[in-house]
Symmetry: C2
Subunit: 305 residues, 2 copies
């Protein structure tokens, strides 16, 4: 199999896992569940669950304990998009070519659907405790849950969203309130890299990786996340609506400080390369190997959409 076929197979597997854990659309709560599933099944690369499972495999993980966490992470990612799209946040009417949740179900229901997804993420992750009676696995699950929760919250994704909203308000104050590189990296680390770290650290922990290994995976995922975000900023300048599937040039239009405006296009491209290269080196440094995962990280650095 070539890389593309392997990736498609793994995306389909991740999709299957997600579907296994979808809540049922029934009862008096049917509408909120429909809204949750509408947003969960809006497509997407399923990158985070794939990274989780592949990191789990890298450290020799076996069994189903990782699956509830795979579905749960996609739920966290999805709820953040539902709330981000709300009129009081980014006010987006379309995502991946479909109407956003609040456009279809109304704002109140979209708030509840986001809350429902976040809560259901934890309901789902907790199911990992039931996949094995082994005390060792129980302990790993508790540890994984702790990292999973932290990386989604104020010391992870929500922290990044907060700083991002404030940076936008700050820039609206004019050029005397510039966004610094330190702040921009904080935003990218938390808003984007944190869920990549959640994916890979959770996978490693559930597979029984040691403290030092988990620390290196955290750094590896940091690099992947930052490179991913810089690549987003690059594509917003260099790509087209046709290739990307969404409007380009939005950062310039919004006078937004990005990694590209701060460091220049050439430096940005070099940094994507070096961050990704270092991430692959970290992955290749463990006693086990996962060549698909290494190739995936390389491909993400060169992605065109």
């Amino acid at each position: 199999m070539n890389f593309k076929e392997e990736l498609d197979a793994r995306t389909a597997q991740a999709e299957e896992v997600l579907k296994k854990y979808l809540p049922k659309e029934e009862g008096y709560q049917k509408t909120v569940v429909e809204a949750m599933n509408y947003s969960l099944l809006a497509g997407g690369k399923r990158l985070r669950p794939i990274l989780m499972r592949e990191t789990f495999r890298l450290f020799g993980g076996e069994g189903e304990v990782v699956e509830p966490f795979m579905a749960a992470l996609e739920m966290v990612h999805t709820y953040s998009l539902v709330h981000d799209d709300l009129p009081c946040m980014d006010n987006d009417e379309y995502r991946r070519g479909r109407k956003t949740t609040h456009v279809v179900y109304g704002e109140g229901m979209a708030v509840l659907a986001g809350d429902g997804l976040l809560n259901y993420a934890f309901e789902t992750a907790v199911k990992a405790f039931g996949t094995s009676g082994d005390g060792e696995i129980l302990g790993r699950t508790a540890k994984a849950l702790s990292v999973f929760a932290k990386k989604a919250g104020i010391y992870g994704m929500i922290g990044g969203q907060t700083a991002d909203i404030e940076a936008e308000d700050r820039e609206a104050g004019g050029p005397e309130q510039p966004v610094t590189e330190e702040l921009l990296l904080f935003i990218h680390e938390h808003k984007t890299a944190a869920l990549i770290q959640s994916a890979m650290m959770t996978g490693a922990i559930l597979a029984g990786a040691g403290e030092e290994e988990i620390r290196r995976i955290e750094k590896c995922a940091y690099n992947i996340g930052i490179a991913f975000q810089i690549q987003d900023d690059i594509l917003d300048v260099t790509s087209s609506l046709e290739v990307l599937g969404k409007a380009v040039g939005s950062d310039e239009k919004n006078h937004k400080t990005t990694y590209v405006t701060l460091k220049g296009m050439e430096q940005a491209k070099r940094d994507v390369e070096s961050l990704s290269g270092e991430a692959v080196d970290i992955l290749a440094s463990f006693s086990g190997r996962n060549e698909f995962l290494e190739e995936l990280v390389r491909q993400l650095a060169g992605r065109e959409k």
Copy 2:
């Protein structure tokens, strides 16, 4: 000590536990943490953490394992209020005499603060795993977390909120779309009773209660929650702004179907009595006793605010 003194002491203890687990207002995420703490410290009866600790004590629970869950449940309760108050939900500008979170911090930040609280609730509850190295306690904590998560989500509180929003839309359709008793009880069971069940079941589970005992506590908490909500409906008719601290007569003004409009005032009062009486009987049926908890349930039935 009389009951009032005992209640005040326990409220102060619950407040202390909550403060111990508050996130720090620092870093680039400072604003969202301020908004979270603003809403968490807006006062309130701390009824749910008190019920949790007292049920924990009823079943002979010892140690700190219950404390992270006490704080976490108050965070869940608080996030639901922050999101409920949003303009796209109930659009309330005041709560307990203070401006609501979105009025002070803006709508976007209020959405994030609610998300942050819900997520931090799980970050906090997960800390219970670290309070003991005992495998038995680890297992109880995993089980408690599962119930805690379920009762907050689409099969608990969020399910009730969904049905409540839809019932309001339904009633706006006119008298040919009446809210039935079955639907009203679904809403009360999920929107109100579910977090009382979370409190008492979590307390029981962490203390090591057996399956049958947990099932009876679930029923007991159901009764307390439904009685609590009926009493709310009664007070909306019979109380005053001065006593209640909030506007009365709002249900009538909004042509809202309540337990009182469905069953009449006298029946509603009798049902509060019988539901609470049955709850006290359940509490008194276990081999251990907690007389403070029994009295608390009696007092809730007769509360005037």
